[in-house]
């Protein structure tokens, strides 16, 4: 009876894979031994020499683990949508906004701080002429939010276009709408949180830089309460104008996003609407001396209303600003109607 001790067995296990095994690789050493018998020749050929090929590792065992936690109410679900979109701008693990978008937001944020920087410089050098150009005034507050070049040509509409582009359309494209609507999320909550998150990111750029601008004036010029009380109404009017601008761009942009399955069309279409109508109104105004077409331009209407409530010199003087306000209301109503209709039709089972 040929019994081997555990120690021998282990030693045999440790022997290299040699000619006894058909799976042995034909290496130089194997050939050498076959030809010349380089080993001693005392191997016990009766022992089945097997290499130790098994890797010790974790054996996966599928085990269902129950969870007994409590689900939080509606506000927490809505907060999760808002948080998902907002934090995605800053870090991984949330909505992936894409590096170009995040870079552009950073560039616009920094560029929007131009008047803040200039105010600080004017305060430092004490040049009143320089300060009158860059310091807080009705015209400069208006320009911070509603100035056409560069802010409403290169900054804010592009930011809006980049943000709204995929917010709803990608849910259609990837079918992620099913993930929302198969959970206790209503269509209203879904669209309002998306709207709010996009609007908040824009507000982060427009309103935060506006606040910093006002603060820079107070700090560098040593403004007191009298100045603050005097200028605060026009600052508030600028804030309201900013909200109006964000709301309008977002509602038009999201409505375009809701009718699309990609992010390119909504972005380009939003820019075309904002800039195209502005250019058209400008051409018609110059050629025919008629400003009526500005009523189809969201930017012109916003600028007109902004001029009226901030109190700057109006540049649209043929018609009352209430026409512009009515036009803005109509544009937003139409955009929100399209948005709500399209979101209502989003499917859970199939898109």
């Amino acid at each position: 009876m040929n019994e081997s001790t555990p120690a021998e067995s282990n030693r045999n296990d440790a022997l290299p894979l040699e000619r006894e095994s058909p799976e042995a690789p034909v290496t130089g050493k194997v050939r050498l031994e076959a030809a010349w018998g380089s080993t001693e020749g005392d191997e016990d050929l009766t022992v089945n020499q097997k290499p130790k090929t098994e890797n010790e590792g974790h054996v996966f065992e599928q085990q269902y683990k129950p969870w007994n936690g409590q689900l939080n109410p509606r506000w927490m679900r809505n907060w999760s949508i808002l948080r998902h979109h907002l934090l995605g701008i800053f870090k991984k693990g949330h909505r992936p906004w894409g590096v170009p978008i995040r870079l552009y937001l950073l560039v616009v944020f920094v560029a929007s701080l131009t008047d803040v920087g200039m105010t600080l410089i004017s305060g430092l050098i004490g040049d009143s002429g320089f300060h009158s150009v860059w310091g807080v005034s009705r015209d400069n507050l208006y320009a911070h939010v509603l100035g056409f070049l560069p802010r409403n040509m290169l900054y804010y509409p592009v930011v809006a276009a980049l943000l709204v582009g995929g917010v709803i359309s990608e849910d259609r494209q990837h079918g992620t709408s099913a993930m929302y609507f198969s959970r206790p999320i209503s269509r209203f909550d879904y669209v309002s949180m998306k709207f709010l998150s996009v609007a908040l990111i824009q507000a982060l750029i427009i309103h935060v830089t506006l606040g910093l601008y006002y603060l820079a004036e107070i700090i560098t010029m040593g403004r007191g309460w009298a100045w603050i009380i005097d200028t605060f109404p026009m600052f508030l009017a600028t804030v309201v104008s900013g909200f109006l601008l964000i709301f309008t761009y977002t509602s038009i942009g999201l409505s375009l996003s809701s009718v699309s399955k990609g992010k390119f069309f909504p972005g380009i279409a939003l820019l075309s609407i904002i800039l195209g109508t502005k250019v058209l109104a400008f051409i018609v105004s110059n050629l025919f001396d008629r400003e009526i077409l500005y009523l189809i331009s969201p930017y012109d209407c916003l600028a007109h209303v902004g001029q009226a409530i901030i109190g700057t010199q109006p540049t649209y003087d043929q018609y009352s600003w209430t026409w512009s306000l009515a036009s803005l209301a109509a544009m937003n109503a139409l955009a929100l109607f399209v948005l709500s209709t399209r979101v209502s039709s989003m499917e859970v089972t199939r898109e």
Partner: protein, 336 residues
């Protein structure tokens, strides 16, 4: 509502204008695994949307886990886990964060959702792959991620819409095993809509069959399969004579060339077949009991019995119709 039932509907009807998508559905789904079967356009998706409370039923009523589908849709969707048929994942997100977010959308605390996302991804077999972007996943891994999203809050009922759609054999087996494990060891219920009868057969004990918005059949799969057990023989020489002889002694025969299936409804069926073969001089070269697959039954019900049959008991109660399931008309089969 009966405690053992997880879904119950009474005269549930859903119309889109003149088009009736669901017609008077009286469905009782017990706890455990249930297959929802039906061809395209049968009303499966409408049924799922209705019981999720996403669309309002036109008539009738329904309860899911005791909750009214008309008024408690939010509560129902909190307690079920829905795995959609189509892509429902963001390809630019890592699976762990996608699953975590799906938990947050249910109201889970973000930290808890993240911990639970790790567990569920481990459970569905993506433990080592959870930090990869979903866009780089195979179809099987995406399906597993969708299942993890559905399981994150440990729902009482998982609604899986075509869970094994587009998967290769290994991934399909794993998906089926995971669903089975969830039912058997996790003690959860699964409502599985699928057109792959094999998968339904492997996971589910019960089935619901819809056709053109009507309930075609429901009951236990075992019961359904038991009703038309047959004996299959392969005959050489004198096959036509053998058919005549067997028919003469009262056996119900279906023939496709040399292959014949004889309804096995009495103890001595085999003896009778062999006696007939000996009498007419035909060789029976192969003989075995033939158990219809769910797919055979599905097709035969769809084609012949249609939606007049309400349950497997009804099928059992009408054996003559059942026997005719797919026999050619020349042999007395055809429409029931």
């Amino acid at each position: 509502m009966d405690d053992d039932l997880i879904i119950k509907t009474s005269n549930l009807t859903k119309s889109y204008g003149p088009h009736v998508a669901l017609r008077n559905l009286n469905i009782s789904v017990p706890k455990g695994a249930t297959g929802l079967l039906g061809p395209n356009g049968a009303g499966k998706s409408t049924f799922l949307k209705t019981i999720l409370g996403l669309i309002q039923a036109t008539e009738g009523e329904g309860y899911v886990m005791g909750l009214d589908i008309r008024t408690q849709g939010d509560a129902i969707r909190s307690r079920i886990g829905y795995m959609p048929e189509y892509d429902s994942l963001n390809p630019d997100m890592e699976a762990i964060h996608q699953v975590r977010y799906s938990g947050e959308l249910l109201g889970m605390n973000p930290t808890i959702a993240l911990a639970r996302a790790h567990e569920t991804l481990q459970y569905v077999g993506l433990g080592e792959q959870r930090y990869r972007n979903i866009g780089s996943y195979s179809t099987g891994m995406k399906q597993a991620t969708k299942l993890a999203c559905a399981l994150i809050h440990d729902p009482e009922l998982i609604i899986a819409d075509e869970p094994s759609n587009g998967l290769d054999i290994t991934a399909r087996d794993y998906m089926i095993q995971t669903l089975t494990n969830t039912v058997k060891n996790g003690n959860r219920s699964v409502l599985m809509a699928s057109h792959l009868m094999d998968d339904v057969e492997r996971v589910c004990d019960n089935f619901i069959l819809l056709h053109k918005g009507k309930l075609a059949a429901q009951g236990r799969i075992e019961d359904l399969k038991g009703f038309d057990r047959e004996i299959e023989i392969h005959v050489w020489g004198g096959a036509s004579r053998l058919v005549e002889a067997m028919t003469k002694v009262g056996l119900k025969v279906r023939r496709e060339g040399r292959v014949m299936r004889i309804l096995h409804e009495q103890e001595d069926t085999t003896s009778l077949i062999l006696a007939c073969a000996a009498e007419v001089g035909a060789q029976v070269r192969r003989m075995h009991e033939y158990e219809a697959s769910l797919e055979d039954l599905f097709l035969s019900i769809m084609e012949n019995l249609g939606y007049e049959v309400k349950s497997s008991e009804d099928l059992l109660a009408s054996p003559i119709q059942a026997r005719k399931v797919d026999a050619p008309e020349s042999m007395g089969g055809g429409s029931a």
